[in-house]
Amino acid sequence: MLQPWQFFLLGGMLAATAVVIVATGQAPANIIILSITVVSISFVGMGAYRMLAPLAAEHVDAPTTIGGRTRLAIEREKNLVLRSIKELEFDFAMRKIAQGDFDEMSARLRARAAGLMTQLDAGGGYRELIAKEIEARLAESPSASSVDEDARAGQCAACGTANDTDAKFCKNCGHRLGTD
């Protein structure tokens, strides 16, 4: 499959070849610089394509984001925090940091690393986390029983007709609902 950039580079090289043929008789340095310039024109072509293609595209891929930041960014940050912990432990081993300070700083960094790891595990942003939580809680109480309850709440004690939950009187017999 021909990529756009290959097309442009090929075009640029062809044009450069043409220029070299046309420019015979000039000093070699001139010809080299000319052909470099001509090839760089193909970069302009690539750039223009890169600029215009997204405007015409149906859909532009956005990378997966977690809480407004890309997954990659969070992974990088996690690595950096881990490295900071390492460095801190090293400083401590070189006896530059007092025990108390070390404990506090280390605890803070570890908490941060753990937080980032949880975030990565969840694989989504806070919005997704909340959605998951809700789903989990709903799953605990089966939906069928709640429907039954709702139905029972609207049932008329006199004639047994199912009414809306917020109805005050039965739509069939007119008996007052919810009094019993």
């Binding site: 310039t37 970069f43 595209a57 890309t70 070189m94 506090e104 790891m117």
Partner: protein, 822 residues
Amino acid sequence: MASLGALLLLIAFVLAAYTVAAAVVGARRRNNRLVESAIGAFYTVAAVMTVASGVIIYAFVAGDYSIRYVRRYSDSVQPLFYKITSYWGGLDGSVMFWVFLLSCFGAVAVKVNRERHRELIPYVVAVIATVEMFFLFLMVIHNNPFTTYLTETPTDGKGLNPLLQNFYMAIHPPTMYLGFVGLTIPFAFGMAALFTGYLDDSWLRAVRRWTMFSWFFLSLGLTLGMIWAYEELGWGGYWGWDPVENAGALPWFTATAFLHSLMVQERRGMLRVWNVTLVITSFLLTIVGTFLTRSGVVQSIHAFGEDAQLARYFIVFMVSTTVFCFGWVIYRLPLLKARHELDSWMSKEAAFLVNNWILLFSALFILFATLFPTITEAVNGERLTVGPPFFNRWMVPIGLILLLLTGIGPLLAWRKSTISNLREQFLWPVLAALVTGGTLVALGVRVWSSGLCFALSGLVVGTIVQEFVRGGVVRRGLTGTDFFTAMIGLVSRNKRRYGGYIIHLGMVLIFLGFAGQGFSSDQQLLLKPGEEQKVGNYTIHLDALRVTDDGQKQMITGHVTVKNTKGEVIDQMKPAKWYYRKHEEEPTTEVAIRRSFAEDLYIVMPAFEVEEQTASVEVHINPLVNWVWFGFSILAIGTAIALLPEASLSFAAASIPAEAATAMLVLLSILISSGTAFAQHVETGQDPRLQLVSPKAREVAHKLACWCGGCSRLPVGQCSCGMCATERSNIDQMLKEGKDETQILDYYVTTYGGNQVLSEPPTSGSGRVVWAMPIVAGVGGFLTVAYLAMRWSRRPSIAGMPAGIEDPEMTARLDDELRNLD
């Protein structure tokens, strides 16, 4: 050709404008299409600038003299290499070259960070494109390098300034520009963080590498500039506090400060406002640097002449940028609150705070002293000179304090150091310093600044060695390998830290070179062929004075034989004077240098008389100069180690020494090859008189600044131009007539109508301001820092410190991952 070039610049401007618009709109509306398109346009600007650069280089190489710029800065006899470098030999081309570098650099930075910092990228692109727009605007409106002659087409050019036809001068501007341009990237990320409000540490991570990279190029550029000045200007030194050199040093200081203070933010979450401010300041100082060079508001050997219109454009740009950027900083202040407080003055944070303050003070001091003559002239019309003696007076102690901090900073702990910590950490380094100092005193070294510098160097080296050894011991304990492997592992695991220490080591060597200046000596000789004279440990023998011609220039060469104390011939040296065609009125002085690690023998022939076969020869003996260049190569190795990507960790342990060795060899070969390079100095055509002057006359002459306009206002006693030689003999004459120093200085002040002939501003009138300012700013700044630190230390610790991880499973996983890092 020319119209194509002009069209390309116009296209680039339009594209940059589109980039800004699309990026900002796309980011605000969360329209990915627009953002992607803006990034595409941003790349296209780089491509268009590449083509435009190709066009102008072709015009130079093919000799299209219908273009004004090409005609002014090249001619047909120039070697190909200098034809290409003529691209940035003048004002218009250097602005264009700047945009070219910025667009390429920006494209790479965006490409690399596109995925990681998705949220910042649209604004980064917009900020860089805005800066490009400004420079493109300048070119399109005011300094188009593609302007042609309307009527007649000249057949040949004027030729590049002979001063610039030197290898170092050809590569010095690009490295300097890379440094300047590189600092735009951190600025763009900082601004993007301000715009988006994502002011956590992620933007710092993105820019750390770029800052280090551009910091390295600034250092390289400054070093190349020094080598050039040393070999080219023929006054025996390398740093004359020329305004443009200063302009290059300004962002270097702030970038250095930033590289240190970002560690504080990373580790402790402090100094967040400060870091943003430093990034903005560094960027503004690069613009100030360009402004000083390009607009001619200050007198300098580099300046391209006065241009009031250009100065106005620059001032508008600088003022609006300053207001805009700091406006955003103030708007975001609530988000920039520090998370932690300063616990103790005996801590790394405090040391960094002091270091930052001193670096910023240096930058502000140099900026102020450089601009001072311009300011006084604008305010009350009084012309003054702030010459090298004034700078040295202040910068020597500042440098020493920085060296001291380099020694103690790494030894202090974060948060607070206890007394026992201190004792343990400081014992060996302080001993090293005392031993060095004691030895020097015993040897009879009496130059206080140099002696102190050596002792402090001992402290820093002691610190670094101790850090390496103790680190190695700890690591050996952890991994159970032998000491050497542990050492390599140590460096490869903590590249930034140990790379930084190696950079410190390089700085120490550079300081050794600076300290060597305290022991330099020079002597002026008047020789006829066959005569000889003793200078220090050398005997200088003039063999002959020869005149030759190579078609491009006429060369008058003094053939000098150098003998050592035993009378053995150790070298043949050839100081010369070259007269380039079409530039006969500006002969260049070719320096002959005999290099060694202990000292350089540096011979200049400022004047001669062919008929009488007499040459005036100046001999400088400069101890330890080569350590400056050598120290730079160590610094380069340190930077390379610190910059190695994280991913190279796995194999770096084995390959670092090899790489370092290669880098060192390359740099050393550059240095060694420079030993044979000829240097030049362009001067005015005045014919100096051949006369010896007394040491007293030189001393008086040191208090005057050269006013010939071509010599970057060096002291007359040092400057090697013809005018200064004449003035030195005049001073000698006046001394013989019985005048004293004040009378002579008064004579010059009245003759030349102002205090600008004095190399230091007088301590009266408006000159007082420049003397008072460093003190006021120094004390004021110190009080401010102290006050802020007090406030921080009183601020109650923010509650809700994470209580640690409750989940044992998570703890186990964390420990596991930490082990895997080793």
